[in-house]
Each structure stands twice: as C-alpha cells, then as structure tokens.
Amino acid sequence: MTGERRSRIVDEIQAAARVTDGMAIVIGGHIMSSHPMAVIRQIIKQGTKNLTVIGAASAGLEVDLLVGAGCARRVITPYVGGEALAPIGPFYQAAVQRGEIDVWECDEGIYYTALRAAALKLPFLPTLSGLGTSLPEVNPDLRLFNDPITGRPLVAVPPLQPDVALIHAAVADAYGNVQFVGSGMGDRAHHRAAVTTIVTVERVVPNEEIRKNPLATAVWNVDAVVRAPYGSHPYQSPGFYLHDEDHLNEYLRAARAAVQGDRRPFAEYLDRYILGPANHAEYLQTVGFPRILSLHEV
C-alpha cells in the first residue's frame, strides 16, 4: 500500500551541492530584499565556477558578491546595485569594464519575457520593448523582426532557462508549499522557468499551517526546502527583519578596495563570513546575535 509523503527538507550544504560548475542559476528577491543568501554563501564556499548568474529583475549586491568571489562567467539582470548605498555593484562594474564577464543586456520587461519563453518552451517571444534602443545591438540574442500578421517591427526575445532557481521565502512546509510575506517579488517567474527550484525559508511550518491559508501559497511543488532563519541576511526578509546596512557597507568597502587593487579586505570578508563558518548557523554566530536582533522593524 501507499507509503509516507516524503520530506523535501535539505540543509544549505546539500542544497548548494545541486549547483555545479557551468550551470545557470536564477536568484530571487529584489535589490535589498529576499535573497537566498545561506545557499549563495555556500555556493561560494564550495567553489563553484563559470556560473551564468541570472539575478533578480533588479538584483542586489549578492550578484556583485558572486562576481567578486569568481563564481560568475556571465551575468543576466537589468540592475546590479545597492540603491543609495551603491548605485552599481563595484565588482560587477569593474568586471564588465575589464571584459572579464559577459553581460546579456536587457531590461526587466525583456528579462521576464525571456523567462516566460523558457517556461513555455517557445523559441522566442515578441516584445515592443527595445524598439529604437541599443539593446538589440549590444545583445545580439535580441533580434528585430517583422510581425507576421501586420508587418510591424518587433523584438524577438529568446528563452532564458535557469537550471536552478534559488528563492528565499517566509515559510514552507516539508512538502514544498511556499508562502511569502508580501508579493514574493518576481520569484514565481523564476520557478516557472527553472528546471529545479530550491527555497530557503525563515521557518518550516506544519502542512496544517499551510492549509489554513492556501491562497498565500505562492509556489508549490518545489524540489528542496532549506530551513534558514535570517537566511536573507544582510538583506531584508519581509515581515522578519530589515537589511543590515552596516554589514553591506563593510562589504562595499572591501569590494571597492578590491577593484582598486587591494584585495586583502575582501579576502578577509570572505574568510570571516563565507569560507570560515562551517554552515549558516556558524555564519550567524559570526555576525552575532546583537547585530541580528538589532535588525527589527519598530
């Protein structure tokens, strides 16, 4: 007869091991919020290389960190920055200016169009976005063509398929039902396009809790769930904690020094926060309870 329903819970080390050299990963969240940092730090720690890093539609400095740590060969996202803290990620800016990484130039609309084409297994989707701009010139994957019905010019956007989507959410049950506090940003679009989806959550909750408000379940049937309280640190996690501006400034100082030629502060940052700690809990221990508990809303 029937067996038991299987738990999909893995730890951050097991989750990151699913990301291997040369894969395309897509990272959820939006600039200063909701990045699956526990897994991203572990990807750096395990030394994964040559990733195509598809950031969020507007990515934060986690993409910059992956570039700085040497994991990324190619970056796809229409924004890498930290808003008022850093209008553009230092490593990202330097690497692009030096031609060290490839960029697939797009804007948010084209970005989601490409993910949608992948989800629907279509060879392309058309858009009006980019007509008259430089995007089709600087990104040869974007092709100008004439609509087969009216003959009007359009931009053809090819599919962009991530191997793995990495998402950070509020809660999930052990069976892959994921709920956000708030909108969930563009993370559903990542899940739809990706082959595999891994979600880190602030709390794993009983299935019965999920069933109390199924309308809040934004993504279901994900492949793995990682219990990672404070897992978005140093970024916000809606409803749980604010971003850590001091930590981000510490990162930015190290990154800015590195692109100026002094990699020592960044090497120390990596040692202290990523290579040294054995796991996510040890990372939090290094950051420390006083700092973590200071990131409260009111």
């Binding site: 890498v80 990202y92 692009v96 031609g99 804007d107 980019g130 701009t133 909108s183």
Partner: protein, 259 residues
C-alpha cells in the same frame, strides 16, 4: 514662503499628475516620491499609489514616513493590494501611468542611457547599473518625466552612446508611432536648474522654465546640446502655500528635500 529647488521640482511634478491616475513611488527617488505623494494629498484623492510592491491610497495618513529603499517592506503596511513584480509586465493597466526616468546620459530628443559611457560596448569607459525597467515602462507609460539630480553637460548630451529608453529617437512627432510604441513618451526633462519640454514638431528639448535665480546662459553653459530657447523663458512656477504645507507637514517631515 521660501522653498528649496527640490521642493520646487516636487511641486512641478505633482502638478502634472491627475486625479485617478495610478502612479508608482520609487522610494529611492526622494524628489519624485514627494511629487507623487504631494499630488495625491493635494488634488489626487483617487490616485492609486504604488509603494513597495503594493497599491494603496494614503489620504488618511497624517504623515507619510519615508523609506530609503525600493522594496522596504515597512512601506507595505498601508497595502490595499500587492503586485508581483513580473505581473507588472502582464499589462500596462498594472503599470504606472506616469514614470520618472533618470540616466547616465540623456540626449536632446529625450532618449536615455543606463548602460554605460564609451564608444565600444565591450570596453566601456564607465559601466552603468543597467536599464532596470525603463525600456519597457517607457514603451507603455502614458507619459514620463526625465529627471536628473545634477545638470551636467556630460549627462545632457547631443547624442547618447547607448539608448536604453527610447524618447523621441532622432526627433519628429511621429518618432514613436512609427515604431509602434504605445506610450506617450517623455514630456519633461527636469534638472536642478530648469525644466525642458519637447517642441511639438521636432520633439527636440526646449527650455520651458528656469528655476528661480538660474539664468538661461547658465543652463546653456551646462547643457551638452543646444536646446530650443523661446524669446522669453519664464521662471518655474513656485509652489503654493497649500502645496508647501502638505510637503512639509505630511510628505517630507524629515526634510530630505530641504537638505
């Protein structure tokens, strides 16, 4: 009543927003943020305000606490509805009716560039942050304001090295319809010195008004192209006492626009 240039600009932006419009506030753009919220509290009780991935109405809030970052979840406390980010791109009905666009370069026809500066895309002298949503938003939005917080000839250029948001192309009132772009295009370009609009036929930038204390010569000296200049260029309209009261008492209590 005295006012700062930022307050002047916020009031100018506010006057272009109409009751009933749906306008997204970029938390990280303090002046457009203030402009949108001022319009809402001053003459737009039926505006829909987009804030931190939510939509709402803020009439009943005595004081609108500012948040520094775009998706700060604290701003979602007032939500009437949420918006998934990709959902915005499912229909212009879900997009902002009016949009505020910056640029590392903006040219005389209102095209803007967020990619970078340089002649060779593979070897940019300066890499910009990327197009964000501007390519698509400016494709669809009813109208938009180009907005700069410095007036610099290296930014206001004859021709952008790259274009991420198509304004009026190489000019002409039909520049956008020829391409099939449904949105209304850039309406103003607003800087700390002045307001440009776009001359009706050529769609070249025209100096519409200078802010108090600024001369036409000063604008020309700091602009990298030759805008159209009317025989007499007025001063940008001052904020009213009503507007200033709302700005200072409800929208910008912390005085970000006064700093």
């Amino acid at each position: 009543m005295t006012y700062t240039t930022k307050e002047l600009i916020a009031a100018f932006m506010a006057r272009d927003l109409q009751d009933g419009e749906n306008v997204v506030v970029g938390a990280n753009l303090p002046v457009p943020r203030a402009g949108v919220l001022l319009a809402h509290l001053h003459h737009g009780p039926n505006m829909t305000i987009g804030l931190s991935a939510t939509q709402t109405n803020l009439l009943k809030e005595p004081v609108l606490q500012p948040f520094k970052y775009n998706r700060d979840f604290r701003a979602a406390r007032w939500a009437e509805s949420y918006m998934q980010h990709h959902e915005t791109f499912d229909s212009p009905k879900l997009m902002s009716d009016v949009f505020f666009v910056g640029g590392i370069q903006i040219d005389q026809f209102g095209n803007s560039n967020l990619i970078g500066v340089g002649t060779d895309y593979r070897r940019l002298r300066f890499r910009g942050p990327g197009a964000i949503g501007t390519t698509t938003m400016t494709t669809y939005t009813k109208r938009y304001h180009l907005y700069l917080n410095s007036h610099d000839p290296r930014v206001l250029v004859e021709r952008c090295d790259f274009i991420t948001a198509f304004g009026w192309g190489r000019g002409g009132a039909d520049a956008r319809t020829k391409l099939g772009l449904p949105g209304g295009g850039p309406k103003y370009c607003i800087t700390p010195l002045c307001v440009f609009d776009f001359e009706e036929e050529t769609k070249r930038m025209r100096l519409r008004s200078v802010h108090p204390g600024v001369t036409v010569e000063e604008v020309l000296a700091r602009t990298g192209f030759a805008p159209i200049i009317a025989p007499r260029v007025p001063e940008t309209e001052a904020p009213s006492a009503d507007e200033m009261e709302i700005l200072r008492q409800r929208v910008d209590v912390e005085g970000v626009l006064r700093s």
